[in-house]
């Protein structure tokens, strides 16, 4: 019997990864910031919302641009002396979860403290779900997303659905 206070839906998850070289990170970031027309999240786990995409810092020198549904990818010209980019359009899926029961369900899935400031709305947490690396994105008081590797997505959505029973 599924919890009436929890929902899970699955969608594609277009991403672009950009990474700057060590030593010239400042230049890379200011150039990227200009080209995107937005400031960048300062530390790992922070996100910045911009028209059509969310910028997430996933590592000290690595950012993900997560495109909204149907949004056009921003045009990026990364100077190869400063960094590089790689399209991660196909390799992940996005689980959207919501409902009053969400914290209870997720406590059976990931070791993330729903009430911690590191998991507050707008924050991203790279963590493990049943030993698989996932990106947890807190989107609201009782809503969040998980970006999970496509090959594991069915196994993991089963795992979550089972937790919601």
């Amino acid at each position: 019997m599924a919890s009436p206070d929890f929902s899970l839906s699955v969608a594609d998850c277009p991403l672009i990864q950009v990474e700057g070289w060590d030593g010239t990170l400042g230049q890379f970031e200011s150039s990227l910031s200009t080209s995107l027309g937005t400031k960048l999240p300062a530390s790992v786990g922070e996100t910045v919302r911009h028209k059509g995409f969310l910028v997430i810092r996933v590592a000290p020198r690595r950012l993900w641009l997560a495109l909204d549904d149907g949004a056009q990818a921003p045009s990026l010209a990364v100077d190869p002396d400063l960094g590089c980019s790689v399209s991660l359009d196909e390799g992940r899926v996005r689980f959207r979860m919501a409902g009053a029961d969400i914290a209870r369900v997720l406590s059976k899935c990931i070791a993330v403290d729903w009430r911690a400031s590191a998991a507050a709305p707008g924050r991203a947490v790279l963590t493990s779900l049943h030993h698989v690396p996932v990106l947890f994105l807190r989107t609201g008081e009782t809503a969040c997303e998980l970006m999970v590797p496509r090959s594991f997505s069915r196994s993991l959505s089963d795992w979550i659905a089972d937790a919601a029973k």
């Binding site: 196909e90 406590s107 070791a111 993991l156």
Partner: protein, 984 residues
């Protein structure tokens, strides 16, 4: 139905409006909501509850908590059957089915209690002396009978229908124990602003306060404090939850029982394993009362004094009418007074010669008979005590009784702190062990720290709660400490072993260890507590010796004429109370045992006859049922098709890594044993990586997409290891190289088309692309798009045939797979599975996992020429160490079966003809296949270089099937050594 004839008409914390039916050994009995199984059995006058482990002696209910050594029962039927549960911790629920253990044919008449008559032979060390060592064979013979006779309950074998859950939780302050100290700590920490988890194993909060009358000041304090905590949003009250282990980083393992009185537990886990991560911990685990050691002290009807008080005041059960309270301290007198007030005839036998006048006066008021300087030496009564022999100032005397309450003082519960490696420290003033020094984030409070009075525990808890919150940076205004003074006086402790009668005097009830066993251990030199424990099995029962630990130390200290701290303390390890393995596994069983990886073409395989195989976490097609009746028939057919027409393989499981940056070529030049710096753009190259020690790490193909960009593939098995290793080198060894490595394994669906007709199939499937040999030469790359997704075609061969690897965006994988099959139909294109893939590569002499096994070098595998004279790559120096050049070093060879109708097997051991097949042999067979080309079994093997001359014979021995097969040593390339088929 039996009556609750031992139940009082009033009082207690049971709900008389809610009767509960249960059965014990098939007898229908009733209790009330709020009972434990133990209290309900006592209320029904059931005193005999189980038989002991070794001597099958009758045993009753000894305690009222998790320290219970005797009253272990099996609960539930069929798949829910669970043995060895203490009746004292089981919350009574409707329909509960409990059985006594370790008795045959019945609890009251047990034939093996004759073991008691054999007792002189069953002393400590008996099994070892008799059945191990020189007479080991005797053990082989007797083991079956002994195992049947000894032991506790039996687990069920049916699948468990219940659900178990694993959960993560977080808190600022975790407080373990919901007695006065824990409650007070929770109140203080919550008031300071901390997020608190209060953990209590019982289904009620209160700890020892539950033994106080339900209309007392203590009960009022408890109600008020509980209400306060319940209304606090920052306090999680976790009842029915046992902290079974404390781990590094303040991770606490909890097991929570589902409320058994919940009649509709749909979907709710029967038990939940919670990993609680706390910033600070308050240990308020209380203390456990000590028994007294005298002859026949294990008889049903002997009970800890505090337990008798709990049964009386919490459960409204008067467990006896004629009661002797044997004690060494003031506390047990409370039990005597309460029992007397409830109508029992009570005698206090206190060890002390001089007794507190106030207690003696109070005893007179209650009509309690007081005997100073008196202790029990022996008891009589089989299934229930009848008479006690007392030894007092006037010599020995007899007294009739139906209940004996004992109290040898208290031992702080230091089990959990012991898990953290905190050594217990002996405190002479309380005659017991308390935890030694705590780290800054851990605190102790209440009787576990030796603060035995309620007032002291509450005060101590308040202090610990405040400090624990403060450690987490929470120091809001402190509440007024709440007060409750029950006027307890200091607990004097029994520190010595008293002279007993002639019958057995038990120290460890559950393991049937007596004072005689400890004396024997001492005589034989097992004086250290750790040796004593192992020699006598003391403390090794499911109760981990909670009641026996201190009396045993005292006994050994007396024998050694040493102090207790000199004698030492044992180390307690998790779990505090037994935890079912199924609870720790939670939902990670069956298809959730591990996460499953599916390729983009998974559904196609499932609906098109693939037999699937687990390869690591991946599900891969093993073979297709339409290819043959079984795997052996199918893979040969699939191989033939690849050699004669064309075959399609899902290779999406390969590891794929995007390597980018101005220094990418330099980086690859260092990580691969063969060079990549000069690889032209648009070309692929097979590469081998070594470990630092010179052993082969992994192999794969890397393609140069652009000047600064490469596309690396790894083996399926090593994908994660390779990426991590590349990151390691970049982060720790060569941080100056500007290179980014990213896993793109899940981005791409990958498939290989292999066979002489593969080019024609590509032309048909991609009419707009030029796949001619001029445009796409061997090891060439073609990049394009297909239905809006990126497309990469590499001309690579693993099978030895002309072949192409096609990579497309994962979301289009299944579409492209179907498109290729459709385009390939006129050319007989058929899918094949991993068995055929493995067979094709063996026939071609390509090494894979069985050969790259973490022990082989490039030279071993015949790949030394790849590195040539290059230097400066990972593993370059150590691969050239002398030991790797030894002439008898095992090297890759091919083997061809030369016996008609026989086969080679992977794992077979190789011997020279005529050599005795014994030991490790000269080498081993690593991979085999039936070769349609050669019409016989062929295989790859690693064989000592000094005997591996091509053309000579070798014998492959497979002891598992007692097979011996002759084979000829040949080149490992069984097919097309010139590589002409790559262009066929």
């Amino acid at each position: 139905m039996s009556s609750n004839h031992k139940r009082l008409s009033m009082g207690g914390r049971i709900d008389r409006e809610q009767p509960v039916d249960f059965t014990f050994d098939g007898r229908k009995l009733a209790g009330y909501r709020g009972d434990t199984l133990a209290s309900a059995l006592l209320a029904n006058g059931v005193t005999l509850v189980g038989r002991s482990f070794k001597y099958h002696r009758p045993r009753g209910i000894f305690s009222a908590g998790p320290e219970e050594p005797n009253a272990l029962v099996t609960l539930g039927i069929a798949g829910r059957r669970e043995p060895n549960l203490p009746a004292t911790t089981l919350e009574l629920a409707d329909g509960m089915v409990a059985e006594s253990q370790n008795r045959w044919p019945s609890l009251a008449f047990d034939v093996q209690s004759a073991n008691g008559l054999l007792a002189p032979f069953l002393s400590a060390g008996f099994y070892y002396k008799t059945f191990m060592g020189p007479t080991r064979r005797a053990w082989m013979f007797y083991e079956h009978f002994i195992r049947k006779a000894a032991g506790l309950g039996r687990a069920g074998t049916d699948p468990d229908p219940d659900r178990y859950e694993v959960r993560h939780a977080f808190a600022d302050v975790a407080i373990i124990g919901g007695g006065p100290a824990g409650l007070s700590a929770a109140r203080a920490a919550a008031a300071a602003g901390a997020r608190v988890a209060l953990i209590e194993q019982d289904f009620l909060l209160g700890g020892q306060l539950l033994a106080e009358p339900s209309d007392s000041a203590a009960a009022a304090w408890l109600r008020q404090t509980e209400a306060e905590l319940e209304s606090s949003e920052t306090v999680a009250l976790m009842k029915r939850t046992t902290a079974f282990g404390i781990y590094d980083g303040n991770v606490i393992g909890l097991v929570e029982q589902r409320d058994p009185t919940n009649r509709q537990p749909v979907g709710e886990a029967r038990q939940t394993f919670t990993m609680l991560r706390a910033r600070s911990i308050v240990f308020a685990t209380g203390a456990i009362e000590r028994p007294m050691v005298f002859s026949n002290n294990d008889r049903p009807g002997v009970m800890l004094a505090s337990a008798a008080r709990t049964y009386l005041n919490r459960f409204a059960v008067l467990p006896g009418k004629k009661i002797i309270v044997a004690t060494s301290n003031d506390g047990a007198w409370r039990t005597a007074f309460d029992l007397a007030a409830a109508g029992a005839e009570v005698t206090v036998a206190d060890l002390r010669a001089s007794l507190p006048a106030a207690l003696v006066a109070e005893a007179a008021q209650f009509g309690v008979v007081v005997r100073a300087a008196t202790h029990i030496v022996d008891l009589r009564g089989g299934h229930a005590v009848r008479r006690a022999t007392l030894n007092g100032p006037d010599g020995q005397s007899e007294a009739a009784c139906d209940l004996v309450c004992v109290s040898g003082g208290w031992s702080p519960t230091v089990h959990l702190t012991s898990h953290l490696g905190i050594k217990p420290a002996y405190r002479d003033d309380i005659g017991g062990f308390v935890p030694g020094a705590f780290a800054a984030d851990r605190f102790g409070a209440g009787s576990m720290m030796g603060a035995y009075s309620t007032a002291g525990a509450i005060e101590d808890g308040h202090r610990a709660g405040t400090q624990a919150a403060s450690f987490c940076g929470k120091s809001g205004p402190a509440p007024t400490p709440s007060k409750l003074d029950l006027g307890e006086t200091a607990a004097a402790q029994l520190r010595e072993v008293l002279p007993a009668g002639r019958g057995k005097a038990f120290v460890d009830f559950q393991m049937d260890v007596t004072t005689g066993d400890i004396e024997l251990a001492h005589r034989e030199g097992y004086e250290s507590v750790e040796h004593l424990k192992r020699y006598t099995t003391l403390g090794m029962g499911t109760d981990q010796g909670k009641t026996s630990n201190f009396p045993a130390l005292a006994a050994m200290a007396t024998l050694r004429n040493a102090t207790i701290p000199e004698t030492g303390a044992t180390t307690f390890r998790p779990p505090y109370t037994p935890v079912a393995i199924g609870t720790l596994a939670g939902r990670a069983i069956g298809h959730h045992f591990k996460p499953i990886r599916r390729t983009p073409m998974h559904d196609w395989h499932m609906t098109n006859g693939a037999e699937m195989l687990e390869v690591g976490l991946w599900m891969r097609p093993y073979f297709y049922k339409q290819s043959g009746r079984d795997v052996n028939e199918a893979y040969v057919a699939e191989m033939r098709n690849a050699r004669q027409a064309a075959s399609l393989m899902d290779i999406s499981t390969l590891g794929k890594i995007d390597v980018q940056g101005p220094d990418a070529a330099i980086f690859l030049d260092r990580v691969y044993a063969n060079g990549f710096a000069k690889l032209p753009v648009g070309r692929a190259r097979y590469g081998v990586m070594l470990r630092d020690d010179g052993i082969v790490f992994d192999d794969g193909t890397t393609t140069r997409l652009a000047e600064n960009r490469f596309f690396m593939t790894t083996s399926t098995a090593k994908a994660a290891d390779v990426l991590s290793r590349l990151e390691f080198l970049l982060d720790t060894a060569w941080p100056d190289l500007r290179v980014a490595v990213t896993s793109v394994s899940d981005e791409w669906a990958a498939m290989s088309v292999a066979g002489p007709k593969s080019r024609a199939i590509l032309s048909a499937a991609f009419p707009a692309l030029d796949v001619s040999d001029a445009a796409l030469a061997h090891m060439g790359l073609l990049e394009s798009e297909w239905r809006g997704r990126a497309l990469r075609i590499l001309r690579l061969s693993y099978s030895g045939e002309r072949a192409y690897e096609i990579y497309v965006g994962a979301t289009a994988g299944e579409q492209l797979w179907s498109r290729l099959l459709e385009a390939g139909r006129p050319f007989d294109l058929k899918p094949y599975g991993v068995e055929a893939l493995g067979a094709l590569r063996v026939e071609k002499g390509h090494v894979a996992g069985p050969e790259i096994d973490g022990r082989t070098t490039l030279d071993d595998l015949g790949l030394g020429r790849m590195a040539g004279k290059r230097t400066g790559f990972v593993g370059d120096v150590l691969r050239r160490r002398p030991a790797f050049q030894a002439p008898d070093r095992q090297r890759l060879v091919g083997l061809e079966c030369i016996e008609e109708g026989k086969r080679l097997r992977g794992g077979a051991i190789l011997f020279l003809p005529g050599e005795k097949p014994y030991g490790h042999g000269r080498g081993r067979v690593t991979s085999v296949t039936f070769s349609p080309e050669r019409g016989r079994y062929v295989g790859l093997a690693l064989l000592a270089g000094d005997v591996a001359s091509e053309g000579s014979e070798i014998v492959a021995v497979y002891p598992m099937k007692t097979e011996t097969v002759r084979a000829r040593i040949v080149s490992p390339v069984f097919l097309d050594p010139q590589g002409e088929r790559l262009h066929g």
